[in-house]
């Protein structure tokens, strides 16, 4: 329920552990609400477990430098010992996202793509088994988005990821499993499992055929 409006009714969803599941749907279908439900952000809900959440906006704090933004969770939990212990990992993560030389830059000195990389590093630094992502790359230009999809697919390996997106190609590139959300109240379609490992090559003919099918499915609805 969201503002008295039924978004989904008696929904039961299983996510495969250690895999990335992409929830694909058009704008306004209720996929973000579903994700916020899983994160325990809707009134009366609790998180499904130890989750790390990554939103569409990078949500970097402008008064903290890049490294401190990545360590934000540890600052907010008020555990200086844990923060010191995790700092080398935060540095390593920033190295991996290609920002190892920008540790002490302020967010406003970075491009949109770099900021989203910092957000990705912050999400991973939380080191939670479940990662919830709400259209994390929607704001970026096409090439940056591709780079970040590759990076995310590589770094998120082994975690249970639920990624919400409206972009069929994104779902096909990074999702081990894809589920289409459609209708109002929405229903969740059966799991689609494309062949090959993530991140998948967008030039693959099988992938493009599947993309056409997904677009058709999104268009028609149930």
């Amino acid at each position: 329920m969201l503002d008295g409006h039924v978004v989904a009714d008696r929904l039961s969803l299983d996510f495969t552990g250690g895999r990335t599941t992409c929830l694909l749907g058009r704008s306004g279908v209720g996929k973000t609400s579903l994700l916020r439900h899983l994160a325990g952000l809707l009134p009366g809900t609790r998180p499904v477990g130890p989750v790390a959440y990554m939103a569409q906006r990078d949500l970097l704090l402008p008064w903290l430098d890049v490294l401190d933004n990545v360590l934000l969770g540890y600052r907010l939990r008020g555990d200086p010992a844990a923060r010191r212990a995790v700092e080398p990992r935060a540095r390593a993560l920033l190295d991996e996202v290609g920002l190892g030389d920008r540790l002490h830059h302020r967010p406003q000195a970075l491009s949109g793509g770099m900021r989203q990389r910092v957000a990705l590093a912050r999400t991973l630094c939380e080191d939670r088994p479940i990662v919830l992502m709400d259209e994390p790359f929607a704001h970026l230009d096409a090439v940056t988005r591709f780079d970040l999809q590759d990076l995310a697919a590589r770094l998120l390996a082994g975690r249970t990821v639920v990624l919400v997106t409206h972009d069929p190609l994104e779902a096909l590139r990074v999702g081990h499993e894809i589920r289409v959300l459609s209708g109002s109240p929405f229903v969740v379609g059966p799991a689609i499992v494309p062949v090959g490992d993530v991140p998948r090559d967008p030039a693959e003919p099988a992938l493009l055929a599947l993309q056409a099918r997904l677009i058709a499915e999104l268009r028609s609805g149930p």
């Binding site: 998180p47 949500l59 402008p62 969770g73 600052r75 939990r77 008020g78 406003q108």
Partner: protein
């Protein structure tokens, strides 16, 4: 540069007006006369200006500390908010000028009553701007903090308060602009020193040019205070860029 030209133009017009109308100096002294007094009586003016400046700065500091403290308490606790917020608003319904004689009665003719006066006029803009800022934190930042398992204390201190600093900065700018009002009203009501005191004294004795000179120094003091606060405020929020800079 342009503001200097505007100021010079206005002064020239004033001089011309006095010269054309031949108005006596005790009604409206020409700027040239005020300038002479500024130099001749520089020692008195500086002495009184130092006194008023001290009242303004102390009042500003006190008002900022009390105002910011109360805003944080209001934002942190709903219980306190229910009790204190109506009082804060009601306190603003009383004109400060009306309390001035009481403050002089209680705190004496010295500096304390003027500091209290300045702090009192500053208090409200600081509380309301910081409290507003504390309530307007980006909700997505708060959600992110929630998913991270942040304590309410840490959220207030590490997210809401830094996020409200730009609001506090604008409150402090308003405070710097009104601080001279508090100090001078206090001096008018009852004082033994200060520029406001000098003004009332010299007007009573028909020394209007000296009153104008005091007014001019007061204006400079106000500008200096505003400039200083503006610089500190910018340093406080280096991540904010200002349009029109």
């Amino acid at each position: 540069m342009r503001s200097a030209i505007t100021a010079l133009g206005l002064i020239a017009a004033w001089e011309l007006l006095v010269w054309l109308t031949d108005v006596p100096a005790y009604i409206l002294p020409p700027p040239s006369r005020v300038a002479v007094i500024l130099v001749q009586r520089a020692d008195v003016l500086l002495e009184q200006a130092a006194w008023t400046a001290a009242e303004m700065v102390l009042g500003l500091a006190l008002g900022l500390v009390l105002g910011a403290g109360l805003a944080v308490i209001l934002a942190a606790s709903a219980g306190w908010r229910r009790w204190a917020l109506p009082l804060v608003i009601a306190s603003q319904a009383i004109p400060v000028i009306a309390i001035a004689p009481l403050l002089v009665l209680w705190l004496g003719y010295g500096m304390a009553s003027k500091v209290a006066m300045a702090a009192l006029v500053i208090f409200f803009p600081v509380v309301s701007s910081l409290y507003d800022g504390l309530r307007r934190t980006d909700p997505e930042w708060l959600e992110l903090a929630r998913t991270m398992g942040a304590t309410p204390h840490a959220v207030l201190l590490r997210i809401r308060l830094p996020a409200a600093l730009p609001a506090l900065a604008s409150g402090a700018r308003i405070a710097a602009a009104v601080a001279p009002i508090g100090a001078v009203i206090g001096e008018w009501v009852g004082a033994s020193a200060g520029l406001g005191f000098l003004m009332t004294q010299s007007l009573a004795r028909g020394q209007t040019p000296l009153a104008f000179a005091a007014l001019f120094v007061l204006c400079l003091l106000g500008l200096a205070l505003h400039h200083a606060v503006d610089r500190v405020a910018r340093r406080l929020v280096p991540w904010q860029s200002f349009q029109g800079d």
